[in-house]
């Protein structure tokens, strides 16, 4: 742990759209953190950093950043396929790690990371399932803890993106892991978290291509559904879509023996309601950025607190392994048409 009084010195790795958000949070909005370094192989991204983060050291390659002795923690916002190795490299260099989800698309690789990370108990590793830090998800979690809905036994959760007519995610399909590992992995983590971390026992998945025929050759779909059974009679239903007309519609419901809660039932962008010839309406959050802007910030603040000696916060490597394990089973079920026992 870092001394409580001093700043946690962070190096961010990857300065794409999401990386920049993280970098700006770390630079300006997280008391107790200093963004001292950033790394990207892309010249245009480094230029952005030069303009926006004047006191940040810039690196073109990850190894050089890891050599920087004046960095306490790395913040990985890199392609998913690099996560596992980059986490291990960082641990070996003695640095705490925050890594965007997923840990890996491969269960065995997740397990290898966990095994090796166990050798570095003094270093924090958190995987970025940011919904755990969204104030509304957190409020729901706290209510469950307080017993206000009785025993929670079912979660329904969805990750639905606004349709991108350009079909960016179609080009991304070969490496995304498919809709369940790319999108539903968040819902899986939410379900486990809100249901008390039960072990999943069986999944069944289905899906369809509503608009993006280009996905067919990769065995992927643009709308996927799944049922997940957990031990103790707990259940989850998942829905993921790439084709919403109205915006990013991400939300969850948790049902207990004495009540239920929805988080984000209507994905309203703000508190404005418009009354006009279309009726009475709320505009919607266009992407997950707008929806989870605060969550990304609180996530960063919590990680910095943890590094300073506070409680572990957010998803552990073990949580991330479970999300990948369940997501992979859903992908397998979609392909085979059969339930997959875990």
């Amino acid at each position: 742990m870092s001394p409580a009084g001093s700043s946690v010195r962070v190096g961010v790795v990857g300065l794409g759209r999401l990386g920049r958000r993280h970098a700006q949070n770390l630079a300006f909005r997280v008391p107790g953190a200093s963004l001292v370094a950033a790394c990207s192989p892309v010249e245009e991204e480094l230029e952005w950093a030069r303009d926006t983060l004047p006191s940040t050291r810039l690196y073109r390659d990850y190894a050089s950043l890891l050599d920087d002795r004046d960095i306490d923690a790395v913040w990985l916002v890199t392609p998913s396929s690099l996560h596992a190795q980059q986490i291990l490299d960082a641990l070996r260099a003695g640095k705490h790690v925050f890594c965007e989800k997923p840990l890996s698309l491969d269960v065995a690789e997740c397990e290898r990371v966990i095994a090796e990370a166990a050798q570095y108990p003094q270093l924090r590793v958190t995987i970025g399932f940011m919904r755990r830090f969204d104030p509304s998800y957190r409020n729901a979690f706290d209510r469950i803890e307080a017993g206000s809905i009785g025993r929670p036994f079912m979660v329904r959760s969805q990750t639905c993106d606004q349709n991108d007519p350009d079909g960016f995610f179609v080009r991304f399909a070969p490496t995304s892991g498919g809709i369940f590992l790319d999108c539903s992995v968040h819902d899986i983590d939410v379900a486990r978290w809100l249901l008390g971390n039960p072990r999943a026992t069986r999944v069944f998945a289905s899906g369809t291509i509503a608009l993006h025929e280009g996905l067919r050759e990769f065995g992927d779909v643009d709308n996927g559904v799944a049922i997940c059974e957990f031990e103790g009679g707990r259940l989850a239903m998942f829905y993921a879509s790439r084709t919403m007309a109205h915006g990013n519609d991400t939300g969850s419901e948790v049902i207990g023996t004495a009540g239920a809660m929805t988080i984000g039932r209507v994905p309203r962008a703000n508190r404005v309601e418009i009354a006009d010839a279309h009726g009475v309406r709320s505009e919607c959050t266009p992407t997950f950025f707008e929806r989870f802007e605060d969550a990304f910030l609180y996530e960063a603040q919590a990680f910095v607190s943890a590094v300073k000696g506070g409680a572990q916060a957010g998803a552990s490597l073990a949580d991330a392994l479970e999300a990948t394990r369940i997501g992979c089973a859903m992908r397998e079920s979609l392909a085979s048409g059969q339930p997959v026992v875990l």
Copy 2:
């Protein structure tokens, strides 16, 4: 009162748009009532009745209908200027009376009707403030009675019509009594009813012409606002509009010392929510017909029950007088720019 076992024989007077609704309710949907007669001077309206109400006797003039001995009650859906005299004529003919609001646009005339009606204690007279029978308004009233919001001390209420580009109500302006007597009179009745029938002590009104300049010559406005003070520190705020873009937006709020209630906060037409490029939206009730369809029916059922010996239900002549008195004061305040003491 009519004997409990037999049907109340009703004659409806006036078969315009609203009159037809009443006629159909009375003919088909009110157990214990028989629509035995209808009256209209308009040939096209009588033809509609011939087609739709096959067993109903038809009259061209009101006096003939009153001569019909086999009618227990008249149902007046006629121009406002006729209401007072028609009520008196019906009472003199020994018939119960349901009359659409308002009783009269003239306070003195209201008082004359009340004075004479007192001579017919065996006959029921109800003025059609149908919101008292809307299930949601009724639910709010019952909660207040049960004490669930403490002592109610303030009502905010509005009657807002969808804009009619043809400006029908502009042509109607010379006889409508103005926006407060035509529209807010409902809100006034709601406020009195929900606040426990306090006596109004003072009003102040203002207004503007947003779209319909033709109203100016009649001293009327298409958007009017008012504050009404009642004895005991109770208050009401009113808003009436002719220019809504999204539909008929009629609703009320009652505020008490331990809670508040809104009735009809969003004027949704039904339970459908649409999610598309406009956001997430509810379509709205286009007119008061759609909004208060059930209220008109329950109102008719309640009147028939009252005639059969049940409790008086709905607004009495005294209630109607108060609504006219307060509405007239609001019109006077709009014209003078000064508060009017009642």
Copy 3:
């Protein structure tokens, strides 16, 4: 068909809670219908009829009612296990039939009814899937027809009852057919109807017992979920529950390529919103009666129109067969843990 001008003479069979609602609608609120007869083996139910329906002939057994030549149509609100035979008996007696859902819990029996009913093309048979007549469901259907959400490809639908601590449905479990045939059958019909009547190809179901352990011995659950695949890449997800804390929460969502619609997202009982120490809240419909009161009425009106020569309205025997077939497959999948191919 009955002559357009004359009344359809109806005999209602079964005067339990739902039967009485139907009887009152037919007696008082359906123009063109006369409730001329009623039948029940239960003395207390006949007494209710004597008090409430004074001009209705009463029978103790179904055969006697069928012998009544002055009945055009029977209205069956009887135990599900009797439906199939009673429909056939009515057809043989030359009477139109309205029958509450389900047609039968047995697919083969459904098919036998269809085969024999084909011999009576002049007689109308409708199965009471009332949601098709709910104004909000109807509005959603009409919008889909108008193309406003593009091509609909997915339905999510649920039937969730308020928890009954007495567990009436546990005692009912031996004959109810289980949660899917008792509850989800409505959602199945909605999904088929809104998706354009596609053929179901495969289902997978799961479930849990949250509160009512007594169901276990019958292989039933109090919370069930299912995925149903239809031809053409269409999908449905279903949820049924007996354990809601807040009321009857029945609703559906239909998702298309250009938009989505929810019907009944919040099961609000009325238009009142209460603001107090609990926050801002809407009370909920306690049972399906309150939620679908209008639908039952419109359903009756539509059936009477159909008998008088109008278009077939509501679910046909073929629709009812499909609902039973899919519901049975869901039950089988729940028991086996395997998907069931149709």
Copy 4:
């Protein structure tokens, strides 16, 4: 103006509850600002600053802080009665000024500040009407600018606090200026801003004491209403309350010739909806802190941008004068029972 590249050095004055929020924003969340100094006469507040703001110079009196040459701007979160003189003192010391609302409770004093401030055109002065920076209010403003509701002609706006049984504001009544100057002043500013800064011509106000009789001796009320007329036929209705049961319920509605918008119709605390024995409900924001947390931050960011040479943002001294002028007229109308012409 400060050089664009360097940090704006801010000294905060007043470290009460709201002052601390401002201080934390300036210290940690406003890029381009440094909180270099803080001032309070209260020892406990200085201790808080010592713990929370380690690199901030602390002063016990305002004059000493103004003597600090290394401060570019002061941030006044002090009692309202001190605002006017403190602003002038800061300007004379060559410092930019952000000052919490209101500028003053006295119109003449407002005018004196404006007159003298005109001698310091190089210094920025902003009064903290934070709603202008709330993302939802801002979104509504931008839509109006884009013409999406046609010509806005009416605003309804309210500031309603959760009831404080301890009646803190009763003790505060002698100096608060009364409910209109303390609460409605925000609504007045919103109305002017959303309606295009029209000149107010006349106001009428009323009010009642629902719960806090202690206000009576100060001529104040715990629920106040007002109508404000502006030139060009524009109108506003205001409501302020101290006695809400459900939370801080602050919101506005703007009505135009082609549509309307509400901002904050339901004061939901977050995106969680709870379904339980109370119905379906949203918990509410308890105080204006929770509701406007983001607005306070964006306000600070905008002020710092303005000091660095960006556009003036937020309410000017002239805006603040108008808010006070209208609020004073409302107070006068409440006292006299007569409309007040401006």
